[in-house]
Amino acid sequence: MGVGIEVRGLNAWYGKNQSLNSIDMTVAANHVTAVIGPSGCGKSTYVRCLNRMHETIPEARAEGSVKVGEMDVYGSGSDPVEVRRRIGMVFQKPNPFPTMSIYDNVAAGLKLNGFRNRKQMNELVERSLKLAALWEEVKDNLHKKSGASLSGGQQQRLCIARALAVEPEVLLMDEPASALDPISTSKIEELIFQLKQHYTVVIVTHNMQQAARVAEFTAFFLMGSLIEYDKTEKIFTTPADKRTEDYITGRFG
């Protein structure tokens, strides 16, 4: 099951440049929350802070409190590897391990976490591929085909399956469909909608129609600050803040 996320006073920097200013935001468990905003507004930085990916960039750092369920992400005993297992991430460009088979791609995270039981691994791989709506398309070629041999849309679903295999509670998606054609995009969107039954999903997107289609809550970021955060219907029909309205109606700047 998904868990909620509590963010309090989150600040982030790249070197001396502050890219997030004191973000307070509560993300509901088992819902899809979209993060929108112009380039450079801090939306990707924000989600990368949720699973401590931000600090993997040289000179990047974050401060503040992020609680994912009971886990204190920035607490003193927190282990970044465990954080990233529980909070999976899918990126803009599908990045399967190109020479590995489909099966090994999905199992990679499990193996990395020391998982050895073959039977259970088979089950987890199948379950993950089913959850990612890819099973039917690849089940006959799990070991024969490589990750790179799949289409872009299939590769992205493979990456989602890989993220799901380690049984996270939260799934972060940074522009997961922006490199895909409309049919693959709608498959991913349908999938996101299904996934919220099991996970809490946070999706960063430039495509506002996509946010409107998949997310129940939408957050608008601007220049490192959270400007407005509300139900998606409210944001896209009657936003409270003029800056939100200017952005979503394209009158920005």
Partner: protein, 222 residues
């Protein structure tokens, strides 16, 4: 891209205002026909209906195009929805003007009778409501639209009074029944136009404020 969209919105507004002008003209001509008992004005209303219907079609088409091609959001989305609803209301205003013109044609086919109803005064109030509602739309002024909502009660009362005095009149002087029925129907047509003006005003408030004020409430999205 956006400026093309803005052009589309401006065009939509202009088309709707032009249609509003046609609807206002239809009310004024129908009223003039009643005042002067001149069938020429009735004919103008009847032939003018085509232009209103044509305008309705064009506005629907352009709205649909903008929704499909530009996927508007927030205030733009509310604007186009409001335009679509105002469009339908204006078309109905045109229909009501046609109904009045037909009643007037029937009225003037018989000798004139004096009836205790001031139709031109009622028509004047109704016409003012439509004008103000369109003004509110032109300037995006919710306060002007609110004033229109206040006027609806006045027109309702005028129609109720007309009903009482005309029934009384028919009862006392059965020979005027046909004329009295025509005037009763005209007052009802006018009252319906006032309702359409009210709807238009509500749509303007929805566009500008994002609030649903229909059916006597002020419903904001939570």
């Amino acid at each position: 891209m956006r400026s093309r969209f803005q052009q589309g919105l401006d065009e939509l507004k202009e088309k709707l205002l032009r249609m509003g002008g046609l609807a206002e003209q239809a009310i004024d001509r129908a009223t003039e026909a009643y005042r002067t008992r001149d069938s020429k004005y009735c004919q103008m209303v009847l032939t003018g209906e085509n232009a209103i219907n044509e305008a309705e079609r064009e506005i629907d088409e352009l709205s649909l195009d903008l929704l499909a091609m530009q996927q508007p959001m927030a205030v733009d989305l509310r604007f186009i929805l409001a335009v679509l609803k105002i469009n339908a209301n204006l078309e109905r205003v045109g229909d009501q003007a046609v109904n009045i013109a037909q009643r007037v044609l029937d009225l003037i086919s018989e000798p004139e009778v004096q009836l205790p109803v001031d139709v031109p005064r009622m028509a004047d109030s109704v016409s003012t409501m439509v004008q103000r509602a369109l003004e509110a739309f032109l300037d995006g002024k919710a306060e002007v639209a609110e004033a229109v909502l206040q006027m609806d009660g006045i027109v309702d009362r005028m129609k109720d009074e007309a009903f009482i005095v005309l029934v009384q009149k028919m009862h006392n002087e059965p020979t005027v029944t046909r004329a009295a029925l025509n005037v009763l129907l005209i007052s009802r047509n006018l009252e319906r136009i006032a309702d359409h003006a009210t709807n238009i005003a509500e749509d303007v408030i929805f566009w500008v404020r994002g609030a649903d004020v229909r059916h006597g409430g002020a419903h904001y999205r939570q």
